[in-house]
Symmetry: C2
Subunit: 137 residues, 2 copies
Amino acid sequence: MNSDFTLAIHSLTYLALQLDRMSKSDEIAESAGVHAVRIRKVLSLLKKHGIIKSKEGTGGGFIFAKELNEVSLWEIYMITSEGTLQPKCPDSNEACVVGANMQKVLFSIFLGAEEHLGEYLKQYTIKDIVDLISKEK
Amino acid sequence: MNSDFTLAIHSLTYLALQLDRMSKSDEIAESAGVHAVRIRKVLSLLKKHGIIKSKEGTGGGFIFAKELNEVSLWEIYMITSEGTLQPKCPDSNEACVVGANMQKVLFSIFLGAEEHLGEYLKQYTIKDIVDLISKEK
DNA sequence: CCCATCTGTAACATTTACCATTACAGTGCA
DNA sequence: TGCACTGTAATGGTAAATGTTACAGATGGG
């Protein structure tokens, strides 16, 4: 899967450990090992969905906008990676019964698969991730 | 996800409609809209797992080696795409608590996710795909 | 026995997707 | 007014995916 998902979770976990102040994209980028611009892009998405707030200018940055246990991995998956599960279908031969219909058959099956995955990912919230990270330490 | 999965399902469905004779990689490639060499690569994997048989030389090709309802999408997923679900993790900063542990935390969660996905994909076999394709037609 | 027809694979070329980087406009604070 | 941030578009580089070529090995038919 897409690494945007990982970056989103990483960033949110970082913010979760700094609830009292704003974090700059530079700090998060350094922790995640990627360029600050990518962090801003991903966080810009999360902001649009009301999960975090941001402020420009001096002293600005990003900060959590919800309770840690209100944000599930499923929500983040949908924002950053919806549809990733769908297997890629090369354009097949429309003149062949198999080629003409394979794509829509697989599509509908994997629509169900993504829903099913959702049931699993809804179990985990950012709070759980924070706890697991602390336990590892 | 990986398009090898789609190609495998496509090929197997094609073979399922030609149970009485061997199919050449050329035919399947034309139906799937990819190069014959790719089909041979994917089918070579399926052969190693005993799902199909192949024969070289004149009159050779590929043919199903099992009952259609014995081969589940999960089995094909595992052969062609195991681990695809894991989100990509850029190497993060080991000096940071978050960076140092994010990868293993996400890894274990998505190990569970893949298992969960397995429960869903086990429901479907090549026979189901063939039926669905026929229904579409 | 030799030739045509396949699979099996490796090597190389090309296209595509992903990501880093640069650049700069807009915003906010002192 | 000047510095410190976010927001975003544009550009370039690199790795992954895919297509293509090439050829060895198996098989069966004249």
